[in-house]
């Protein structure tokens, strides 16, 4: 009958020679377990504060996008982000919903999933501003897989829903100095004026090395090809048929 009394087991463990196999395995397990416990409790306890900080950051960046884009502030009645009309759209049938529900998602097949996101949340919040009755601006949330992190941002489109007014990156964890350049004002300054689609409706927007020669191209970052591709693919996905493409069509025809 093995002795299962925890106190005597613990004493036996402490008394065991340090280099015995049992003690090595037990110590490795105990230390990893304690470390995992410390990290996860910190993450859970601080979670609400962290989320609030990230939300404030997102809001500040959206405000910065509005402030930095020429002509945008004048379009908005009142001041800043609060004058934006917020719509929660169900991407499956273009109906309007009351709140975002992250549990409703659509699985993407690997071929469709160019942004590398796995599943697409069906309910999305978009922001719009109107100039009188005409659409002046639409801001779409976009995200996708970069080189080593998820890149999140907002894409602002002009009244033709094809010309980029601005792109802002709110969250990324790419390599500092290389991929993280996607968040710098200098790189983002290339986006205003970029066209998403040609007349036939084909998505042409691209981030390419030495780009900028056509209205559809933006110059990629040297040494950060995969971060550059990540931004390109995330925009292509979200303005495409599985992203906001149908929403944009509905806005163009005035159905939404």
């Amino acid at each position: 009958m093995p002795d299962l009394n925890p106190i005597s087991l613990w004493q036996r463990l402490l008394a065991a020679p340090n280099d015995s196999r049992g003690k090595t395995l037990t110590m490795a397990f105990l230390v990893s377990f304690a470390a995992a416990l410390a990290v996860s409790s910190a993450a859970v306890l601080l979670g609400p504060r962290l989320d609030a900080n990230r939300e404030a950051e997102r809001r500040a960046r959206l405000e910065a996008l509005i402030a930095e884009t020429p002509g945008l502030a004048e379009v908005l009645p009142g001041s800043g982000i609060d004058s934006l009309e917020v719509l929660t759209v169900d991407l499956r049938d273009l109906s309007l919903a009351d709140a975002v529900d992250p549990t409703q998602v659509t699985e993407l097949t690997p071929d469709d999933d160019i942004a590398g996101i796995g599943t697409r949340p069906d309910l999305q919040q978009i922001f719009m501003a109107r100039d009188g009755r005409d659409l002046a601006l639409v801001i779409l949330p976009v995200y996708g897989q970069g080189y080593q992190s998820t890149i999140r941002g907002y894409l602002a489109l002009g009244p033709d829903l094809n010309t980029v007014i601005g792109l802002t990156i709110t969250e990324q964890g790419e390599t500092p100095g290389l991929g993280a350049t996607i968040q710098t004002p200098g790189w983002l300054a290339q986006w205003p004026g970029t066209q998403l689609m040609d007349e036939a409706g084909e998505i042409r927007v691209a981030v390419v090395r030495g780009g900028g020669s056509t209205a559809y191209e933006v110059d990629a970052i040297t040494g950060a090809t995969r971060s550059s591709n990540g931004v390109q693919n995330m925009i292509r996905f979200w303005v495409g048929p599985l992203g906001f493409g149908p929403v944009l069509d509905a806005l163009r025809s005035g159905d939404l």
């Binding site: 402490l14 340090n18 280099d19 003690k23 090595t24 110590m27 490795a28 230390v31 990893s32 304690a34 470390a35 995992a36 410390a38 990290v39 910190a42 993450a43 601080l46 504060r49 962290l50 900080n53 404030a56 950051e57 500092p176």
Partner: protein
Amino acid sequence: MRAALKPLFDPLLRDNPVTVQILGICSALAVTTSMTTALTMSLALTAVLVASSAVISLIRRHIPAQIRLILQITIIAAMVIVADLILQAYAYAISQRLSIFVSLIVTNCIVLGRAEAFAMSHPVGPSILDALGNGAGYSAILMVIAFLRELLGFGTLFGATIFPTVADGGWYQPFGFMLLAPSAFMLLGLLVWALRSWRSEQVEPASTRVDREEALS
């Protein structure tokens, strides 16, 4: 009494981890463009160092020799993640400016160095003192370099204007070089040189120096 406090005071000057052992200089270069980031980084490193030294010293008699380093690193890494989360929760703006350098405390040689060289072979009390001393020694050097870089590079200290710059209608032309990483190398080098001229016992014995002719050939 003096002997008991030796682990606390020795690393401040006589055996400073940065200027004597030349450890932890990567972060010392990266976060010293402003006093605020340097102070935050110093506090984070000291907290991680004290906590990890205490825990490692506490269980030192039961750490199997073969997996010694990996256990130390696991403990240190957990502490660093917790410190990083606390910073992100309570000092979000500063944690964004420090970017990856807080997470990189885990690779800071000072932390693992003190765990291996001191905490593994000393009781908890002296280990905490040693950690505090080394944290303070690291912090002191960071603050000196950050003081010079921020004052000369921006004309400010902790963000408050000391020298009004030309751009703001004052008289001070900021020394832009101070904001680049190489300036931290040069300041650190000058500091090491000054300290070793003053306390010549810190100069390495001739055997560890690179032979001049060998270096030239």
